[in-house]
């Protein structure tokens, strides 16, 4: 029977000298899903991923990847896991197709290299040496190198950093195809829309800890509120409106005749508001519902200030 999780991190601690990069972090990645590790710069995303990849030895806690210890059982683990580093990883004088073909040769049953190059839009630059590739092409080559060995699990460290919108979409599509074919994916990103688009689970990391975890929908529902705005006659009796709405909902007249309802805005609430308006002879116009995006949640959780 297949195990339910491909990555199990418990109470991971990693220090670099006096600096604690990861501070008691827990993470679970379910088999066959896409998990996004989201966080501001310096939150500990890369340290966490690189510990799972076997590059770092935990100072405390346990890490299991495909049930194996990434440090002591690296030899068994490496053939089964695909890795995309945040940058580099290729001989500067190697041609793109040469490097990918080489990675393929290190695996028992690799993907077709030419087809993979085409799939990632690298077909026309196969003969170009790595140092002459654009940043986006270098990113896509690194992604190709991560998947060419037909791994069970791939770690992608900021896979779309520096990509143009088309290449970004194409990378997203590839991640979805990997999941559809049963590959588990762990990716780090600081693009909220990327996590929202791709991930089954999101782990928000800040200061070395997971501060929120769940599906993008659950994260957007929990904690943060949605708002409904409309305009109508000035001076409506909001007290009477609130009586009709669920507890915890708030209503305010922002400027004369513009109203904001905040709370758990769902279709039922919208219907209640419009029927209340009908009963009171109000014609609401400019009704808009703003759903909180993962970005709002993220900023709420990690604070809005920029971090070094």
């Amino acid at each position: 029977m297949k195990s339910e999780s491909v990555v199990q991190v418990r109470n991971l601690v990693k220090r670099y000298g006096p600096k604690t990069a990861v501070d008691g972090l827990d993470l679970c990645v379910r088999t066959g899903t896409v998990t996004a590790v989201l966080g501001p710069n310096g939150a500990g995303k890369t340290t966490t991923i690189e510990t799972c990849e076997g590059y770092r030895r935990p100072d405390d806690g346990t890490v299991r990847v495909l049930g194996l210890d990434p440090v002591t059982e690296a030899a068994k683990l490496r053939p089964r896991v695909g890795v995309m580093l945040q940058s580099g990883g290729v001989y500067s004088g190697a041609r793109a197709d040469e490097m990918l073909r080489h990675m393929a040769k290190l695996h028992a049953d690799p993907l077709n290299v030419d087809a993979l190059m085409e799939r990632l839009g690298l077909g026309s630059c196969g003969r170009t040496t790595y140092r002459r590739l654009s940043g986006g092409q270098q990113q896509r080559l690194a992604l190709a190198m991560a998947v060419v060995g037909r791994p069970e699990l791939v770690f992608l460290d900021e896979p779309t950093a520096g990509l143009d919108p088309q290449a970004r979409r194409s990378t997203w599509d590839l991640v979805r195809e990997l999941r559809a074919d049963g590959v588990s994916v762990v990716l780090t990103t600081h693009f909220m829309d990327e996590a929202e688009e791709l991930a089954d689970d999101v782990a928000v990391i800040d200061a070395g800890k997971v501060i929120a975890q769940g599906s993008p929908e659950a994260l957007c529902r929990g904690g943060a509120e949605n708002t409904l705005r409309f305009t109508g006659r000035p001076g409506l009796d909001l007290g009477s409106l609130l009586k009709a709405l669920p507890d915890g909902t708030e209503a305010a007249e922002l400027t004369s005749g513009t109203y904001r309802i905040s709370g758990d805005v769902d279709p039922q609430l919208l219907a209640t508001v419009t029927s209340w308006c009908a009963q009171h002879g109000v014609m609401p116009s400019g009704i808009s519902v703003e759903r909180h995006t993962l970005e709002d949640v993220f900023l709420e959780l990690t604070g809005k200030e920029l971090r070094a």
């Binding site: 990849e53 076997g54 590059y55 030899a75 490496r78 053939p79 089964r80 896991v81 890795v83 580093l85 940058s87 580099g88 990883g89 290729v90 001989y91 500067s92 004088g93 190697a94 040469e98 080489h102 990675m103 040769k105 290190l106 695996h107 028992a108 049953d109 993907l111 087809a115 993979l116 799939r119 190198m145 998947v147 060995g149 037909r150 791994p151 069970e152 195809e177 990997l178 559809a180 074919d181 049963g182 590959v183």
Partner: protein
């Protein structure tokens, strides 16, 4: 690419295939790099041709090609095993190549084996090229081919250890500068084209302990003077090999 393309089918290739592929790639990288070729092919060839054809340096009794060829062979070994390997490996470390390969199915020892094989393949090409040129200038070697082989292998081990130690501990730019400087200093002070007996006695005895001096002196003893086994030179190279490879194994940092 259709559904099911990426269905996991993970596994490492057989070790022999991985090492063969890695050796081929490392060798291509060495031979494709212009700066590397300058060090490993062009400089030794030019020195051999120039000083064999024109009597600039007083190389003692006998024809200059007989004195020069062993020294130039030693220089060729140093240029590939030490200078070239240090610079290439330093930049591979800097650009995350060693790190990325560390996550591949290729074990680290197999990567180092492949690097060593690539150095040896390059050296064979150098030796063939330089030998052909030397013969064209009327070189007449003597001695025991096995002793020559021993010297070349121990010399390669000594220089590889020192080159990897440098590449694995210094920044890539520092390695680039230092490896070139050491190459130049040892070219002049290591008995390659200038006989060591041109230096004052005290300096001579110190220079004689350098790996380049031991290698060029040992090769000269055998190829020019027909010695059977230059034990003291082999001993010096062995000590450098143990120290260099030992320190590299201990201090080498992969990232």
């Amino acid at each position: 690419m259709s559904a099911g393309t990426y269905t996991p089918q993970a596994g490492a290739a057989p070790l022999s295939r991985m090492i063969t592929a890695q050796t081929a790639l490392e060798t291509r990288m060495l031979l494709r790099n212009g700066e590397q070729l300058l060090l490993t092919v062009i400089i030794p060839t030019l020195l051999l041709v120039l000083f064999s054809a024109v009597d600039i340096v007083d190389t003692g009794a006998g024809r200059s090609v007989d004195f020069l060829t062993p020294g130039i062979l030693a220089l060729a070994v140093m240029s590939t095993a030490f200078t070239g390997q240090a610079i290439a490996t330093g930049f591979e470390r800097r650009y995350g190549v060693l790190k990325r390969l560390g996550a591949s199915p290729l074990p680290r020892w197999a990567l180092m084996t492949a690097k060593t094989l690539a150095v040896l393949v390059t050296e064979v090409l150098q030796v063939v090229l330089l030998t052909v040129i030397a013969f064209a200038f009327g070189w007449s070697p003597h001695g025991n081919p096995f002793a020559v082989l021993m010297l070349l292998v121990l010399g390669t081990a000594a220089f590889s250890g020192l080159g990897l130690l440098m590449a694995g501990t210094l920044k890539a730019e520092a390695t680039l500068a230092a490896a070139n400087l050491v190459f130049l200093l040892l070219l002049v002070g290591g008995g390659v084209i200038v006989p060591l007996d041109k230096f004052p006695d005290a300096v001579q005895s110190v220079l004689g302990l350098l790996p380049i001096a031991a290698l060029s002196d040992g090769l000269r003893d055998v190829l020019q003077h027909g010695a059977s086994m230059p034990w003291s030179d082999l001993g010096i190279l062995a000590v450098w090999a143990v120290l260099g490879l030992g320190a590299a194994a201990k201090f080498f940092r992969w990232e």
